[in-house]
Amino acid sequence: MKDRFEDLIDDGVAIDEEERARLRSVHDLLLQVEPPPEVGPALRQPPQEAPARLLPRRRRAPLALVAAAIALAVFGGGYLVGERSATPSVERTIVMAGTAEASGATAAIELLEEDAAGNWPMRVRLRGLEPSEGREDFYELWLTREGELAESCGRFTVHEGVTEVTLSVPYRLRGFDGWVVTRSGSDEPLLTT
């Protein structure tokens, strides 16, 4: 039986012994090193000790739109359709792992580019969670602050295999430090960052 390394690098393209040894050494190194920590939303922006410009460069262009959105929100609501690209880029992928109550479960949150109205869209893919038994049996993605559930990012049901959901939240992510998935009727974390 091939060992895991051989299986990992077997992409059907021939490999010489020197290259195999080189990749093997990286493989062995990765096995020795623990994963880097996920960076919570609170840490996505650098400290403001430095003289901060008002907004990062990529957000300068839609500044007027953001101002208009704020004005609309303040003066009686309404909706602003911002200038969003058809396929917003992925800002960061956050990998979540199952806790003891859901060992083997995994999730990946693809945090997409903040839209012009200040919402953070995200694609969440989950696998390994027990399938929902109905609409009332839902899972919920939370932002956490100091280890406590702080704000809900949305509820969803889960089916066999991979479940993919799209969510969007209006929160300022700097105020949070992690992500957690719970099941309805419980605050027990099933997936955490």
């Binding site: 990992l8 077997d10 992409d11 990286v26 880097p36 920590p37 922006q45 430095a50 990998v95 430090d177």
Partner: protein, 184 residues
């Protein structure tokens, strides 16, 4: 050690721009090093909250002292590692862990030199992972740290198994290049 990254700007060049108070360069350095510095702080402090404070302290220190970086004396990563490590240690002294929350830690049997070497190695691996293109980083993290099989990764990411294998091999090869010195 590679000094030029995928976007063609080295850490050293960014540090020199930070010394000139270039906020964009500072943001880019922060993006590159957030996870390695947070990992370093977590290993040193063992507490997420204190580590996050230390991360902030470390980057404030980088901003303040970037003008002391001398490219003739070494790569930007090594300078940043030293500044971050010092800031983390200083922060730990200023904000000692409350006695009531002191965790019981097993005796550390390795010496200071080995700990320092290990710490640098982990730092370099984490930084190298950050340098990978997102698709390669994702499959490697899921394979090595998510403990998923390649079939599971393919299903999880909605990509063909062959793509997982191609990305895995490409990612390992890229890492081998980035970690050339560490692998000698």
């Amino acid at each position: 050690m590679p000094v030029v990254t995928e976007n063609g700007v080295s850490d050293g060049e960014l540090l020199q721009r930070v010394a000139d108070r270039d906020r964009d360069a500072f943001d880019e350095l922060y993006r590159r090093y957030t996870r390695p510095v947070l990992g370093l702080a977590l290993r040193r402090l063992g507490d997420r909250g204190r580590a996050e404070d230390a991360l902030q302290d470390a980057f404030v220190a980088v901003w303040r002292s970037a003008s002391s970086y001398d490219p003739q004396r070494g790569a930007g990563a090594a300078w940043l590692y030293t500044v971050a490590r010092n800031a983390i240690v200083d922060g730990a002294r200023r904000r000692p862990e409350p006695p009531a929350e002191t965790p019981e830690t097993p005796a550390d049997e390795v010496g200071p030199a080995e700990r320092a070497e290990r710490s640098w190695l982990v730092w370099r691996v984490h930084r190298a992972i950050e340098e990978l293109p997102e698709p390669e980083r994702q499959v490697l993290e899921l394979a090595y740290w998510g403990e998923q099989s390649q079939s599971e990764i393919a299903e999880f990411l909605h990509i063909p198994l062959g793509t997982v294998k191609t990305r895995t091999r490409a990612g390992l090869a890229r890492l081998a290049g980035l970690l050339e010195e560490e692998l000698r």
